[in-house]
Protein backbone atom coordinates (compact mmCIF):
# COMPACT_ATOMS: atom_id res chain seq x y z
CA UNK A 1 0.00 0.00 0.00
CA UNK A 2 1.32 3.40 -0.96
CA UNK A 3 1.91 5.79 1.90
CA UNK A 4 -0.35 8.82 1.65
CA UNK A 5 -0.09 12.28 3.14
CA UNK A 6 -3.70 12.79 4.29
CA UNK A 7 -4.77 11.96 7.85
CA UNK A 8 -7.13 9.28 6.50
CA UNK A 9 -4.35 7.37 4.83
CA UNK A 10 -2.15 7.89 7.90
CA UNK A 11 -4.87 6.28 10.02
CA UNK A 12 -5.13 3.42 7.58
CA UNK A 13 -1.38 2.84 7.70
CA UNK A 14 -1.41 2.94 11.48
CA UNK A 15 -4.18 0.39 11.50
CA UNK A 16 -2.24 -1.89 9.18
CA UNK A 17 0.71 -1.91 11.54
CA UNK A 18 -0.95 -1.96 14.96
CA UNK A 19 -4.56 -2.87 14.27
CA UNK A 20 -3.96 -6.56 14.70
CA UNK A 21 -2.03 -6.66 17.97
CA UNK A 22 -2.71 -10.10 19.36
CA UNK A 23 -4.62 -9.90 22.62
CA UNK A 24 -6.56 -12.76 24.13
CA UNK A 25 -9.96 -12.12 25.72
CA UNK A 26 -8.99 -13.12 29.27
CA UNK A 27 -8.77 -9.49 30.40
CA UNK A 28 -12.54 -9.14 29.96
CA UNK A 29 -13.20 -11.51 32.84
CA UNK A 30 -10.98 -9.58 35.28
CA UNK A 31 -12.39 -7.39 38.07
CA UNK A 32 -9.83 -4.59 38.38
CA UNK A 33 -8.45 -6.15 41.56
CA UNK A 34 -5.47 -4.26 42.98
CA UNK A 35 -5.83 -1.33 40.56
CA UNK A 36 -5.97 2.12 42.19
CA UNK A 37 -8.42 4.52 40.56
CA UNK A 38 -8.80 8.21 41.46
CA UNK A 39 -12.12 9.92 40.82
CA UNK A 40 -11.49 13.69 40.74
CA UNK A 41 -15.02 14.99 41.03
CA UNK A 42 -17.80 16.01 43.45
CA UNK A 43 -17.00 13.28 45.98
CA UNK A 44 -18.42 9.74 46.26
CA UNK A 45 -21.32 8.56 48.41
CA UNK A 46 -19.46 5.75 50.19
CA UNK A 47 -22.69 4.51 51.81
CA UNK A 48 -24.33 3.62 48.51
CA UNK A 49 -25.12 -0.12 48.65
CA UNK A 50 -23.21 -0.75 45.42
CA UNK A 51 -20.16 1.22 46.49
CA UNK A 52 -19.71 0.14 50.10
CA UNK A 53 -16.15 -1.00 50.81
CA UNK A 54 -14.91 0.07 47.39
CA UNK A 55 -13.74 3.57 48.26
CA UNK A 56 -10.45 3.20 50.13
CA UNK A 57 -9.83 6.92 50.66
CA UNK A 58 -11.86 10.14 50.46
CA UNK A 59 -10.23 13.55 50.54
CA UNK A 60 -11.50 17.02 49.70
CA UNK A 61 -9.97 20.33 48.64
CA UNK A 62 -9.53 22.89 51.40
CA UNK A 63 -8.42 26.43 50.58
CA UNK A 64 -5.75 27.72 52.95
CA UNK A 65 -3.91 31.01 52.37
CA UNK A 66 -4.65 30.90 48.63
CA UNK A 67 -3.28 27.36 48.42
CA UNK A 68 -5.35 24.22 47.97
CA UNK A 69 -4.67 21.40 50.41
CA UNK A 70 -6.42 18.03 50.76
CA UNK A 71 -7.95 16.83 54.00
CA UNK A 72 -9.87 13.63 54.84
CA UNK A 73 -13.48 14.06 53.70
CA UNK A 74 -16.67 12.87 55.32
CA UNK A 75 -18.96 15.17 53.37
CA UNK A 76 -19.77 12.58 50.69
CA UNK A 77 -21.01 13.79 47.33
CA UNK A 78 -22.62 17.21 46.95
CA UNK A 79 -23.96 16.79 43.41
CA UNK A 80 -24.25 13.07 42.61
CA UNK A 81 -21.84 13.18 39.69
CA UNK A 82 -18.83 11.59 41.41
CA UNK A 83 -21.06 8.81 42.76
CA UNK A 84 -22.37 8.23 39.23
CA UNK A 85 -18.83 7.95 37.80
CA UNK A 86 -17.74 5.63 40.63
CA UNK A 87 -20.76 3.41 39.94
CA UNK A 88 -19.86 3.13 36.23
CA UNK A 89 -16.22 2.24 36.98
CA UNK A 90 -17.35 -0.26 39.57
CA UNK A 91 -19.88 -1.87 37.23
CA UNK A 92 -16.99 -2.84 34.93
CA UNK A 93 -14.17 -3.25 37.48
CA UNK A 94 -15.95 -4.15 40.74
CA UNK A 95 -12.74 -4.83 42.67
CA UNK A 96 -10.89 -1.65 41.67
CA UNK A 97 -9.87 0.45 44.67
CA UNK A 98 -11.42 3.89 44.41
CA UNK A 99 -9.88 7.11 45.72
CA UNK A 100 -12.34 10.00 45.94
CA UNK A 101 -10.68 13.38 45.40
CA UNK A 102 -13.38 15.96 45.89
CA UNK A 103 -12.69 19.23 44.08
CA UNK A 104 -16.26 20.31 43.28
CA UNK A 105 -18.68 21.64 45.84
CA UNK A 106 -16.05 21.52 48.56
CA UNK A 107 -16.12 25.33 48.91
CA UNK A 108 -13.05 27.53 48.98
CA UNK A 109 -11.02 27.51 45.79
CA UNK A 110 -12.68 28.48 42.56
CA UNK A 111 -12.99 26.91 39.15
CA UNK A 112 -9.76 25.41 37.84
CA UNK A 113 -7.50 25.87 40.82
CA UNK A 114 -8.96 23.05 42.95
CA UNK A 115 -9.26 20.85 39.89
CA UNK A 116 -5.54 21.30 39.10
CA UNK A 117 -4.60 20.68 42.73
CA UNK A 118 -6.68 17.47 42.72
CA UNK A 119 -4.87 16.20 39.66
CA UNK A 120 -1.51 17.06 41.19
CA UNK A 121 -2.51 15.26 44.40
CA UNK A 122 -3.41 12.09 42.47
CA UNK A 123 -0.13 12.18 40.51
CA UNK A 124 1.94 12.74 43.65
CA UNK A 125 0.17 9.78 45.25
CA UNK A 126 1.03 7.82 42.09
CA UNK A 127 -2.53 6.65 41.68
CA UNK A 128 -2.32 4.45 38.62
CA UNK A 129 -5.55 5.43 36.88
CA UNK A 130 -7.25 8.83 37.07
CA UNK A 131 -10.86 9.60 36.06
CA UNK A 132 -11.24 13.25 35.10
CA UNK A 133 -14.77 14.00 33.97
CA UNK A 134 -14.00 17.72 34.22
CA UNK A 135 -12.36 20.35 32.08
CA UNK A 136 -11.69 24.04 31.69
CA UNK A 137 -11.58 26.40 28.71
CA UNK A 138 -9.62 29.11 30.52
CA UNK A 139 -6.37 29.77 28.63
CA UNK A 140 -4.47 30.46 31.86
CA UNK A 141 -4.81 26.79 32.84
CA UNK A 142 -3.39 25.51 29.55
CA UNK A 143 0.29 25.56 30.56
CA UNK A 144 -0.05 24.23 34.14
CA UNK A 145 -2.35 21.43 32.96
CA UNK A 146 -0.01 20.52 30.16
CA UNK A 147 2.85 20.34 32.65
CA UNK A 148 0.81 18.19 35.05
CA UNK A 149 -0.23 15.80 32.28
CA UNK A 150 3.39 15.38 31.23
CA UNK A 151 4.29 14.61 34.85
CA UNK A 152 1.47 12.04 34.97
CA UNK A 153 2.72 10.44 31.77
CA UNK A 154 6.28 10.22 33.09
CA UNK A 155 5.06 8.82 36.42
CA UNK A 156 3.04 6.12 34.63
CA UNK A 157 -0.31 7.52 35.78
CA UNK A 158 -2.99 7.02 33.15
CA UNK A 159 -5.32 10.01 32.94
CA UNK A 160 -8.68 9.63 31.22
CA UNK A 161 -10.58 12.87 30.56
CA UNK A 162 -14.05 13.66 29.22
CA UNK A 163 -14.50 15.99 26.26
CA UNK A 164 -16.71 18.97 27.09
CA UNK A 165 -19.23 18.58 24.26
CA UNK A 166 -19.13 22.30 23.55
CA UNK A 167 -18.03 24.35 20.54
CA UNK A 168 -14.75 25.46 22.14
CA UNK A 169 -11.98 23.00 23.11
CA UNK A 170 -11.49 22.29 26.80
CA UNK A 171 -8.34 21.31 28.64
CA UNK A 172 -7.07 18.78 29.29
CA UNK A 173 -9.20 16.68 26.92
CA UNK A 174 -7.49 18.21 23.83
CA UNK A 175 -4.00 17.12 24.97
CA UNK A 176 -4.25 13.91 23.01
CA UNK A 177 -0.60 12.89 23.36
CA UNK A 178 -0.42 12.69 27.14
CA UNK A 179 -3.86 11.41 28.09
CA UNK A 180 -6.85 9.44 26.87
CA UNK A 181 -9.86 11.57 25.98
CA UNK A 182 -13.40 10.30 25.61
CA UNK A 183 -16.73 11.44 24.21
CA UNK A 184 -20.14 9.78 24.44
CA UNK A 185 -21.71 7.33 22.00
CA UNK A 186 -25.13 5.68 21.99
CA UNK A 187 -23.49 2.26 22.24
CA UNK A 188 -24.67 0.36 25.34
CA UNK A 189 -21.96 -2.33 25.66
CA UNK A 190 -18.93 -0.89 27.54
CA UNK A 191 -16.62 -3.42 25.87
CA UNK A 192 -17.73 -2.19 22.46
CA UNK A 193 -16.02 1.21 22.66
CA UNK A 194 -14.67 3.05 19.62
CA UNK A 195 -11.38 4.74 18.64
CA UNK A 196 -11.32 7.63 16.16
CA UNK A 197 -7.69 7.90 15.17
CA UNK A 198 -6.88 11.39 13.84
CA UNK A 199 -9.63 13.09 15.86
CA UNK A 200 -8.79 15.35 18.83
CA UNK A 201 -11.06 13.29 21.10
CA UNK A 202 -10.06 9.74 20.24
CA UNK A 203 -12.22 7.35 22.27
CA UNK A 204 -15.98 6.92 22.25
CA UNK A 205 -17.85 4.98 24.94
CA UNK A 206 -21.42 4.65 26.26
CA UNK A 207 -22.69 8.02 27.47
CA UNK A 208 -26.39 8.15 26.64
CA UNK A 209 -28.99 7.21 29.25
CA UNK A 210 -26.42 5.33 31.33
CA UNK A 211 -28.06 3.77 34.39
CA UNK A 212 -25.78 4.22 37.41
CA UNK A 213 -25.52 4.94 41.12
CA UNK A 214 -26.75 8.26 42.53
CA UNK A 215 -27.17 10.04 45.85
CA UNK A 216 -29.07 8.52 48.78
CA UNK A 217 -28.66 4.97 47.55
CA UNK A 218 -30.53 5.77 44.33
CA UNK A 219 -29.93 5.24 40.62
CA UNK A 220 -30.25 7.56 37.62
CA UNK A 221 -30.18 7.40 33.84
CA UNK A 222 -27.61 9.97 32.74
CA UNK A 223 -26.38 11.47 29.47
CA UNK A 224 -23.07 13.28 28.90
CA UNK A 225 -19.44 12.81 27.94
CA UNK A 226 -18.58 12.73 31.62
CA UNK A 227 -20.32 9.33 31.86
CA UNK A 228 -18.43 7.95 28.85
CA UNK A 229 -15.09 8.66 30.55
CA UNK A 230 -15.56 6.24 33.52
CA UNK A 231 -16.49 3.44 31.11
CA UNK A 232 -13.01 3.65 29.57
CA UNK A 233 -11.50 3.92 33.07
CA UNK A 234 -13.23 0.64 33.99
CA UNK A 235 -11.92 -1.03 30.83
CA UNK A 236 -8.35 0.17 31.55
CA UNK A 237 -8.62 -1.13 35.14
CA UNK A 238 -9.23 -4.62 33.71
CA UNK A 239 -6.27 -4.27 31.34
CA UNK A 240 -4.02 -3.06 34.17
CA UNK A 241 -4.96 -6.00 36.36
CA UNK A 242 -4.10 -8.33 33.47
CA UNK A 243 -0.91 -6.49 32.45
CA UNK A 244 0.19 -4.50 35.53
CA UNK A 245 3.26 -2.88 33.97
CA UNK A 246 1.53 -1.23 31.00
CA UNK A 247 2.68 2.33 30.27
CA UNK A 248 0.17 5.04 29.27
CA UNK A 249 1.35 4.72 25.66
CA UNK A 250 0.86 0.94 25.68
CA UNK A 251 -2.62 1.32 27.19
CA UNK A 252 -3.61 3.63 24.36
CA UNK A 253 -2.21 1.22 21.77
CA UNK A 254 -4.22 -1.63 23.30
CA UNK A 255 -7.40 0.45 23.34
CA UNK A 256 -6.84 1.26 19.69
CA UNK A 257 -6.29 -2.38 18.84
CA UNK A 258 -9.38 -3.55 20.75
CA UNK A 259 -11.53 -0.82 19.20
CA UNK A 260 -10.41 -1.80 15.70
CA UNK A 261 -11.38 -5.36 16.45
CA UNK A 262 -14.75 -4.10 17.77
CA UNK A 263 -15.35 -2.17 14.56
CA UNK A 264 -14.42 -5.16 12.40
CA UNK A 265 -16.75 -7.44 14.33
Amino acid sequence: MELGSSSTSAAQDFHDIFGHVSLDESWKSRTGRGVNVAVIDSGIDTNHPLLQGKVVESVEAVAEHKRVLFAPSESGDSAGHGTACAGIISSIAPEAELYSIKVLGAGGAGDGQAFLAGLEYAIKRRIRLINLSLGTTKPQFFAPLHDLLDRAYQAGCIVVAAANNLPQPSFPSVFSSSLISVSKSEEADPFHFGFRYGEVIELTAPGVNVRTTWLNGGFRSLTGNSFACPHIVGIIALLLETYPTLTPFQVKSLLYSIARRNQES
Binding site: K138, P169, T223
Partner: protein, 263 residues
Protein backbone atom coordinates in the same frame (compact mmCIF):
# COMPACT_ATOMS: atom_id res chain seq x y z
CA UNK B 1 -28.25 71.45 51.68
CA UNK B 2 -28.64 74.32 49.20
CA UNK B 3 -27.59 73.36 45.74
CA UNK B 4 -26.71 76.26 43.42
CA UNK B 5 -27.07 74.01 40.34
CA UNK B 6 -30.38 72.39 41.22
CA UNK B 7 -31.54 72.14 37.63
CA UNK B 8 -28.33 70.43 36.53
CA UNK B 9 -28.50 68.09 39.52
CA UNK B 10 -32.05 67.05 38.73
CA UNK B 11 -31.13 66.40 35.12
CA UNK B 12 -28.26 64.15 36.26
CA UNK B 13 -30.61 62.22 38.53
CA UNK B 14 -33.17 61.68 35.76
CA UNK B 15 -30.50 60.66 33.28
CA UNK B 16 -28.94 58.20 35.72
CA UNK B 17 -32.26 56.57 36.53
CA UNK B 18 -33.11 56.34 32.83
CA UNK B 19 -29.73 54.87 31.99
CA UNK B 20 -30.00 52.42 34.88
CA UNK B 21 -33.29 51.03 33.58
CA UNK B 22 -32.30 51.22 29.94
CA UNK B 23 -29.16 49.21 30.67
CA UNK B 24 -30.59 46.11 32.29
CA UNK B 25 -34.32 45.78 31.56
CA UNK B 26 -34.11 45.23 27.80
CA UNK B 27 -31.39 42.66 28.39
CA UNK B 28 -33.44 40.50 30.76
CA UNK B 29 -36.35 40.79 28.32
CA UNK B 30 -34.09 39.66 25.46
CA UNK B 31 -32.76 36.76 27.55
CA UNK B 32 -36.33 35.73 28.37
CA UNK B 33 -37.39 35.91 24.71
CA UNK B 34 -34.45 33.81 23.59
CA UNK B 35 -35.05 31.35 26.44
CA UNK B 36 -38.71 31.03 25.38
CA UNK B 37 -37.69 30.42 21.79
CA UNK B 38 -35.11 27.80 22.78
CA UNK B 39 -37.52 26.02 25.14
CA UNK B 40 -40.00 25.69 22.26
CA UNK B 41 -37.31 24.20 20.07
CA UNK B 42 -36.23 21.85 22.89
CA UNK B 43 -39.89 20.85 23.55
CA UNK B 44 -39.30 21.74 27.18
CA UNK B 45 -41.93 22.91 29.66
CA UNK B 46 -39.69 24.90 32.00
CA UNK B 47 -36.41 26.63 31.33
CA UNK B 48 -34.15 28.89 33.33
CA UNK B 49 -31.01 30.96 33.13
CA UNK B 50 -28.99 30.63 36.32
CA UNK B 51 -26.06 32.98 36.89
CA UNK B 52 -23.14 33.21 39.31
CA UNK B 53 -23.73 35.07 42.52
CA UNK B 54 -20.42 36.22 43.98
CA UNK B 55 -17.05 34.45 43.96
CA UNK B 56 -17.85 31.37 46.04
CA UNK B 57 -19.63 29.29 43.40
CA UNK B 58 -23.15 30.23 44.52
CA UNK B 59 -25.78 30.65 41.80
CA UNK B 60 -29.12 32.43 41.44
CA UNK B 61 -32.01 32.24 38.98
CA UNK B 62 -31.95 35.31 36.69
CA UNK B 63 -34.68 34.45 34.19
CA UNK B 64 -37.18 31.58 34.17
CA UNK B 65 -40.16 30.55 32.10
CA UNK B 66 -42.88 28.05 32.89
CA UNK B 67 -45.48 27.37 35.58
CA UNK B 68 -43.29 28.17 38.58
CA UNK B 69 -41.09 30.83 36.97
CA UNK B 70 -42.03 33.55 39.45
CA UNK B 71 -41.11 31.36 42.42
CA UNK B 72 -37.74 30.50 40.94
CA UNK B 73 -36.67 34.09 40.24
CA UNK B 74 -34.05 35.22 42.71
CA UNK B 75 -33.84 31.76 44.30
CA UNK B 76 -30.26 30.84 45.23
CA UNK B 77 -28.38 27.61 44.68
CA UNK B 78 -25.51 27.04 47.13
CA UNK B 79 -22.07 26.23 45.71
CA UNK B 80 -21.83 22.80 44.08
CA UNK B 81 -25.45 21.85 44.87
CA UNK B 82 -27.58 19.99 42.39
CA UNK B 83 -26.89 19.49 38.74
CA UNK B 84 -26.71 23.26 38.11
CA UNK B 85 -23.95 23.53 40.73
CA UNK B 86 -22.08 20.64 39.18
CA UNK B 87 -22.40 21.94 35.62
CA UNK B 88 -21.28 25.40 36.71
CA UNK B 89 -18.17 24.17 38.51
CA UNK B 90 -17.24 21.37 36.09
CA UNK B 91 -18.18 22.89 32.72
CA UNK B 92 -19.74 19.58 31.68
CA UNK B 93 -23.27 19.43 30.24
CA UNK B 94 -25.40 16.73 31.85
CA UNK B 95 -28.89 15.28 31.25
CA UNK B 96 -30.79 13.22 33.82
CA UNK B 97 -33.73 11.17 32.61
CA UNK B 98 -35.31 10.45 35.98
CA UNK B 99 -34.53 13.12 38.56
CA UNK B 100 -36.95 11.65 41.10
CA UNK B 101 -37.85 12.95 44.51
CA UNK B 102 -35.16 11.48 46.72
CA UNK B 103 -32.49 13.69 45.18
CA UNK B 104 -32.00 16.13 48.03
CA UNK B 105 -31.46 19.36 46.09
CA UNK B 106 -34.33 19.09 43.61
CA UNK B 107 -36.62 17.69 46.28
CA UNK B 108 -35.98 20.89 48.21
CA UNK B 109 -36.65 23.17 45.22
CA UNK B 110 -39.74 21.17 44.23
CA UNK B 111 -41.03 21.36 47.79
CA UNK B 112 -40.77 25.14 47.68
CA UNK B 113 -42.33 25.51 44.25
CA UNK B 114 -44.80 22.63 44.24
CA UNK B 115 -43.29 21.47 40.95
CA UNK B 116 -42.25 17.92 40.01
CA UNK B 117 -38.88 17.84 38.28
CA UNK B 118 -38.62 14.62 36.29
CA UNK B 119 -36.18 15.08 33.45
CA UNK B 120 -33.53 17.78 33.14
CA UNK B 121 -30.79 19.01 30.81
CA UNK B 122 -28.20 21.49 32.05
CA UNK B 123 -25.40 23.06 30.02
CA UNK B 124 -22.86 25.73 30.98
CA UNK B 125 -23.07 29.35 29.87
CA UNK B 126 -19.60 30.43 28.76
CA UNK B 127 -18.26 33.79 27.72
CA UNK B 128 -14.65 33.99 26.51
CA UNK B 129 -13.81 30.70 28.18
CA UNK B 130 -15.27 31.79 31.52
CA UNK B 131 -18.27 29.93 32.92
CA UNK B 132 -20.80 32.60 33.87
CA UNK B 133 -23.87 30.48 34.56
CA UNK B 134 -26.01 27.50 33.60
CA UNK B 135 -28.86 27.02 31.15
CA UNK B 136 -31.42 24.46 32.30
CA UNK B 137 -34.37 22.79 30.58
CA UNK B 138 -36.80 20.86 32.77
CA UNK B 139 -39.52 18.37 31.75
CA UNK B 140 -41.35 18.22 28.43
CA UNK B 141 -44.42 19.83 26.96
CA UNK B 142 -47.42 17.54 27.53
CA UNK B 143 -48.11 14.87 30.10
CA UNK B 144 -45.62 12.62 31.92
CA UNK B 145 -43.86 10.26 31.57
CA UNK B 146 -41.47 12.54 29.69
CA UNK B 147 -38.90 11.45 27.10
CA UNK B 148 -35.35 12.08 28.22
CA UNK B 149 -33.29 14.76 26.47
CA UNK B 150 -31.30 13.34 23.57
CA UNK B 151 -27.61 13.82 22.61
CA UNK B 152 -28.81 15.90 19.64
CA UNK B 153 -30.76 18.17 22.00
CA UNK B 154 -27.66 18.45 24.19
CA UNK B 155 -25.73 19.81 21.20
CA UNK B 156 -28.62 22.14 20.35
CA UNK B 157 -28.74 23.43 23.94
CA UNK B 158 -25.00 24.24 23.73
CA UNK B 159 -25.70 26.50 20.74
CA UNK B 160 -28.55 28.29 22.53
CA UNK B 161 -26.24 28.62 25.54
CA UNK B 162 -23.65 30.42 23.43
CA UNK B 163 -26.18 33.08 22.36
CA UNK B 164 -27.72 33.44 25.83
CA UNK B 165 -24.25 33.71 27.44
CA UNK B 166 -23.47 36.83 25.38
CA UNK B 167 -26.64 38.47 26.66
CA UNK B 168 -25.96 37.38 30.24
CA UNK B 169 -22.46 38.86 30.07
CA UNK B 170 -23.89 42.14 28.75
CA UNK B 171 -26.47 42.07 31.55
CA UNK B 172 -23.81 41.55 34.24
CA UNK B 173 -21.69 44.41 32.94
CA UNK B 174 -24.70 46.72 32.57
CA UNK B 175 -25.92 45.90 36.07
CA UNK B 176 -22.58 46.78 37.60
CA UNK B 177 -22.39 50.08 35.75
CA UNK B 178 -25.95 50.78 36.80
CA UNK B 179 -25.04 50.07 40.42
CA UNK B 180 -21.95 52.25 40.06
CA UNK B 181 -24.01 55.10 38.61
CA UNK B 182 -26.50 54.87 41.47
CA UNK B 183 -23.70 54.79 44.02
CA UNK B 184 -21.97 57.84 42.56
CA UNK B 185 -25.25 59.68 42.45
CA UNK B 186 -25.89 58.81 46.08
CA UNK B 187 -22.40 60.07 46.97
CA UNK B 188 -23.03 63.31 45.10
CA UNK B 189 -26.29 63.81 46.97
CA UNK B 190 -24.54 63.14 50.26
CA UNK B 191 -22.03 65.89 49.40
CA UNK B 192 -19.17 63.54 48.57
CA UNK B 193 -18.68 65.10 45.13
CA UNK B 194 -16.25 63.77 42.60
CA UNK B 195 -13.10 64.41 44.66
CA UNK B 196 -10.97 62.12 46.76
CA UNK B 197 -13.60 61.68 49.49
CA UNK B 198 -16.22 60.33 47.05
CA UNK B 199 -13.57 58.18 45.40
CA UNK B 200 -12.68 56.44 48.66
CA UNK B 201 -16.37 55.84 49.45
CA UNK B 202 -16.89 54.21 46.06
CA UNK B 203 -13.77 52.13 46.69
CA UNK B 204 -15.24 50.96 49.99
CA UNK B 205 -18.49 50.07 48.23
CA UNK B 206 -16.51 48.10 45.67
CA UNK B 207 -14.78 46.17 48.45
CA UNK B 208 -18.14 45.10 49.83
CA UNK B 209 -19.72 44.39 46.44
CA UNK B 210 -21.06 40.85 46.09
CA UNK B 211 -19.91 40.21 42.59
CA UNK B 212 -17.24 38.21 40.84
CA UNK B 213 -13.61 39.31 41.00
CA UNK B 214 -13.62 39.92 37.23
CA UNK B 215 -16.51 42.36 37.41
CA UNK B 216 -15.18 44.07 40.52
CA UNK B 217 -11.88 44.65 38.72
CA UNK B 218 -13.73 46.02 35.70
CA UNK B 219 -15.74 48.50 37.71
CA UNK B 220 -12.71 49.38 39.85
CA UNK B 221 -10.94 50.35 36.64
CA UNK B 222 -13.89 52.50 35.57
CA UNK B 223 -13.88 54.29 38.92
CA UNK B 224 -10.14 54.91 38.68
CA UNK B 225 -10.45 56.32 35.17
CA UNK B 226 -13.28 58.58 36.33
CA UNK B 227 -11.16 59.82 39.22
CA UNK B 228 -8.16 60.51 36.96
CA UNK B 229 -10.40 62.30 34.47
CA UNK B 230 -11.61 64.67 37.17
CA UNK B 231 -8.06 65.79 38.00
CA UNK B 232 -7.18 67.72 34.86
CA UNK B 233 -6.32 67.69 31.16
CA UNK B 234 -2.71 66.51 31.61
CA UNK B 235 -3.83 63.51 33.69
CA UNK B 236 -6.52 62.65 31.13
CA UNK B 237 -4.00 62.75 28.27
CA UNK B 238 -1.47 60.60 30.14
CA UNK B 239 -4.16 58.11 31.16
CA UNK B 240 -5.37 57.77 27.57
CA UNK B 241 -1.83 57.17 26.29
CA UNK B 242 -1.20 54.47 28.91
CA UNK B 243 -4.52 52.75 28.24
CA UNK B 244 -3.91 52.75 24.48
CA UNK B 245 -0.46 51.19 25.05
CA UNK B 246 -2.09 48.49 27.21
CA UNK B 247 -4.62 47.81 24.44
CA UNK B 248 -1.84 47.41 21.86
CA UNK B 249 0.05 45.05 24.19
CA UNK B 250 -3.12 43.04 24.82
CA UNK B 251 -3.87 42.72 21.08
CA UNK B 252 -0.38 41.36 20.36
CA UNK B 253 -0.25 38.96 23.34
CA UNK B 254 -3.79 37.63 22.70
CA UNK B 255 -2.89 36.59 19.19
CA UNK B 256 0.01 34.57 20.66
CA UNK B 257 -1.98 33.19 23.60
CA UNK B 258 -4.78 31.72 21.51
CA UNK B 259 -2.68 30.42 18.64
CA UNK B 260 -2.53 26.97 20.25
CA UNK B 261 -6.29 26.65 19.87
CA UNK B 262 -6.15 26.84 16.09
CA UNK B 263 -5.43 23.21 15.55
Amino acid sequence: MTNPNLEEKLRTIIETVDVANALTEPLTTSIKNLLQLSAGSMKSEEASVIIRDGDDGDLRFLVAIGKVADQLLGMKIPSGKGIAGFVYSSGQPVAIADVGQESSFYAEVDKRTGYNTQTILATPLRHHGEIIGVLEYVNRVGEPPYDSFTPFEMDKAALFAEAIASLVNAYESAKLFRDLGEKMLADDNAGGGGGTSGFSEVREWLGNLRSTAEHREMIDLAVTVREIASRGAAERRLCREILEAVLKYSDSSNSLETSFLNY
